[in-house]
Amino acid sequence: MKPCKRIEIVIETPMVPALIAVFKELDIPGYSLIPEVRGSGDRGVRRADELSGQSSNSLVLVACDDMVKIERLLEAVRPLLARSGGICLLSDAQWLRH
């Protein structure tokens, strides 16, 4: 087990390619993505029921143990969220080595 950070990002689905481009740029190879997440926040209810995909969110989970990369990731995510909404949470975890 090694200590790491869990980064959870909820962002609207059309912005996901932009987020993944950020991962590539920062050389973050690992993430998991849950599509078709509904939600509610400052910008109203998102029911994931529209054909444009506009009202659907995705939840992206990143485990990372490199604090420098994490800092950079947070910096890069902030303007994405500021423009189009969503949340980003950081928490502690232990990563099972295998």
Binding site: E12, P14, M15, A18, E36, D42, R43, G44, V45, R47, A48, D49, E50, L51, S52, G53, Q54, S55, S56, R83, S84, G85
Partner: protein, 331 residues
């Protein structure tokens, strides 16, 4: 009058009402999301293929080319005057997004109008499908350019929007690509190809349109229910009235402009109605998706609600027969 009634009592429209009713009585009736998406892909595929086959069977003439040119012009022009009209009542980004939304088209409104014509036995030409496909993109580009020009000076916004990504989104958007591609394939394979896919593309069309409109009724009614919330969440505390008014008046205005063009081009009754419907309808798939990327500062509570919850049902229920009556009166 009878035309209104026969429109309202066609199975697809009645299923739209059923969807609305389900939301009103707070039923849990719901079409699963992936099915709804696939029904929409099916409609684009079917209408595109049919249009392509129709083109393959007709000769390319001046009216056709002029109509296509006119349609593209319409899609670029509508956003300009819409933006000018709206910018004093709406935040700049919202005005630009609404302009793009109304310059573009709603494929389902178009499809419903073709069903309406088929029901009445009125002819229409396959190249109108091409016109529809061509009208999706220009409005998006014009909308962004307008915002960049007027808004950019003030706030330096949008500068980090990649134009390449934007153009790609405008031109190769999933729905644009599917309809253009299906049209091309229909055009290449012609009557031979049609014979092979007819049971899917033609026979099931109206039945599946019923199911799709059932879903649209649910989605539109939910959005309509969100309207009061839209008002209070607006940080600027503006009233909803401009939004409601714009969503009702813009289709009428755009229909007039479309009507003028149809008369100018000397289109037949059926084709004229389709062109007017294209002008009057507003996008709720391609444009909203593009706007989230290019203009995230615009509030989808404005442009999406307007097009989906007000303009779309309005065109479906009243617009199509009203435009038809106007055309009959003119021609």
């Amino acid at each position: 009058m009878s035309v209104f009634l026969s429109n309202l009592s066609s199975p697809p429209l009645l299923f739209f009402f059923l969807g609305v009713a389900a939301v009103l009585v707070r039923s849990d009736l719901e079409i699963p999301a992936q099915i709804a998406k696939s029904l929409s892909l099916y409609l684009l595929f079917a209408i595109g293929f049919k249009g392509g086959v129709a083109i393959s069977e007709s000769t390319i003439d001046a009216t056709m080319l002029l109509t296509l040119l006119g349609a593209v012009t319409l899609s670029a022009l509508i956003p300009v005057y819409t933006f000018v009209l709206l910018r004093r009542w709406f935040p700049l980004a919202d005005a630009a997004a609404i302009a793009a939304t109304y310059g573009s088209v709603s494929a389902v409104t178009f499809v419903t109008a073709t069903g309406y014509l088929d029901m009445l036995g009125i002819q229409w030409s396959g190249y109108l499908v091409a016109a529809m496909a061509l009208m999706e993109s220009p409005a998006i580009i014009v909308g962004i350019v307008l915002y960049k020009y007027y808004g950019g000076q003030q706030r330096g916004a949008v500068q980090n929007v990649s134009w390449k990504a934007l153009l790609r989104e405008a031109l190769f958007n999933g729905s644009v690509l599917l309809i253009l591609g299906s049209m091309l394939i229909g055009w290449i394979t012609g009557a031979d190809g049609m014979q092979k896919v007819e049971p899917l593309v033609k026979d099931l069309f109206l039945g599946l349109l019923c199911l799709f409109l059932l879903d649209m009724g649910i989605v539109a009614a939910r959005r309509f229910g969100d309207l009061p919330a839209t008002k209070t969440t607006g940080s600027d505390g503006r009233s909803m009235r401009p939004l409601l008014l714009a969503a009702m008046l813009l289709p009428a205005l755009n229909a007039l402009v479309g009507l003028a063009l149809a008369v100018l081009l000397g289109l037949s009754e059926g084709n004229a109605l389709l062109l007017v419907v294209l002008a009057a309808s507003a996008s709720y798939i391609a444009v909203p998706a593009a706007m989230r990327l290019a203009l995230p500062e615009a509030n989808p509570g404005s442009y999406l609600t307007m097009s989906l919850a007000i303009t779309f049902p309005l065109n479906l229920l009243v617009g199509i027969p009203a435009y038809h009556a106007a055309i009959r009166w003119l021609l």
